[in-house]
Point group: C2
DNA sequence: AAGCATAACGTAAATGTTACGCTATAAAGA
DNA sequence: TCTTTATAGCGTAACATTTACGTTATGCTT
């Protein structure tokens, strides 16, 4: 028995202020062998086979550094896709054969999701490279089973957004309440009353008001806040809420 | 480069009414080669290498059927452990060499957790076999990195217990409110006021009162309830609560 | 029949959530 | 400079949920 190869694929999320974005790799595929100049443009998630002395998160980070120029990216395991036939379309098999020069019997992939603040340095990197940001709503199909991986990514992102302070990984360090609200609305696909949202946010001790205000907007500039991670970590141990969807109690 | 092997390891949880239990495999390891009769007893999680045409959940299920005699076990991916040196102690390497007759360079393992109702049929299976139930509190060390996997299992179990109705996978089909409360208290390590807990449970539409009562107890027998899964699935789509640890709103 | 253990019910106070009216402030245009 | 416009930001009453804790009910045991 030949062992399967193991890869990582990364669902890299970013937020541009109004829409959730995903970073995709573009590549061309020969339409037919008779005319190799005819290329079909396809998109896939960034990914890579793991190397001999490397664990999965190292492989994912390696992939992302090349792509975004960022180290210290927020990165979490998402799910493992292991269907023996997950790569079975002839064009997918051929791409694998051409890309990796070693023989590949089967690829089990560990999906990660990454949260990135889309700032100047990342934009520069991605504009110049082969990768490009896409609004998640506009993505119709992807190569291999990557659409399925993306959907899993969205599901887990929504879920974790509700239970952990990961929103701040997608926002700039200093942000307005409106930006935070837009992010929740965009990712969860809901509408939130701004006045109540504001009230809640102000009651959270680890979201701290700064002395600065928004600039360059054509209306009353909003105040800027930051997320105090250290304070959150400390508080969470004390407050430790035990909430169930249908059973809820505090300690 | 030789591809890593892939295995699944299962953290099988059960609940005996008062304590959270885990199913472990017992095996003997030679203390030294001079005297092979001297065995050191060790414990590990049930697991297995994946087969050629098998996906991970199939491998996990295969492992569990052999172990418990149950099909249709509640099973979820937990985490992937991929440190290149996760198996590095000499005795662990030797065990691998002796157990799997093929050469193994490195094993990446996908951990699953399973929830099992400890009833007669499972008990019979496990008593007769090499596996044994252990109270999670009493487990001091395990072979390989299995203690670490177990800890991750406990963490994810607690987390999911708070957000999804998985408690019922550990209880008999018909259960008392007290049993449900004991389960939450045992897994989360908290104390809950019985009167408030009861009130909450009674307000959950998908937890349904039956016509039966507990039997064979030395006090007032409690009424039995069951979890109506179909109803839960239907309701969850309507109610869909968007709760955050620090930001909470309903749709 | 009395004692005991736990089931089962109730209630008031505190806290959190929702719906919605209103004011404040900066920028832009007349 | 005055008005308009858009969004920031504050307040309040109704409603719902959670918490703390007193009380009654029921079946088994002795």
């Amino acid at each position: 028995m030949v062992n399967p190869s193991i890869s990582v694929d990364c669902v890299v999320f970013g937020f541009d202020g109004s829409e959730l974005k995903v970073l995709l790799i573009e590549f061309g595929r020969k339409m037919n062998n008779a005319d190799p100049s005819q290329l079909k443009l396809e998109r896939k998630l960034p990914g890579s086979l793991i190397q001999e002395k490397e664990d999965l998160s190292a492989a994912a980070q390696r992939t992302l550094v090349e792509l975004t120029g960022l180290t210290n990216i927020f990165l979490r395991q998402l799910y493992v896709f292991s269907d023996p036939n997950r790569i079975s379309r002839p064009e997918d098999l051929e791409w694998i054969k051409n890309t990796y020069e070693i023989p590949v019997s089967r690829i089990v992939t560990v999906a990660y999701f990454a949260l990135v603040k889309i700032d100047k340095s990342v934009l520069q990197h991605t504009v110049e490279g082969v990768s490009k940001w896409h609004g998640v709503q506009s993505i119709k199909q992807l190569a291999f089973d990557h659409k399925q991986i993306l959907m899993k990514g969205l599901e887990v992102l929504s879920q974790q957004l509700l239970n952990e302070p990961i929103a701040f990984e997608l926002l700039p360090k200093r942000f307005t309440i409106r930006q935070l609200q837009n992010l929740y609305e965009a990712i969860l696909g809901i509408e939130i009353d701004n006045r109540n949202f504001r009230k809640k946010v102000l009651n959270v001790p680890c979201i701290k008001l700064l002395d600065e205000k928004e600039k360059g907007v054509a209306h009353k500039p909003a105040r800027l806040y930051r997320f105090d991670k250290a304070m959150y970590e400390k508080d969470i141990k004390k407050k430790m809420k035990y909430n169930l969807n249908f059973i809820r109690f505090t300690d």
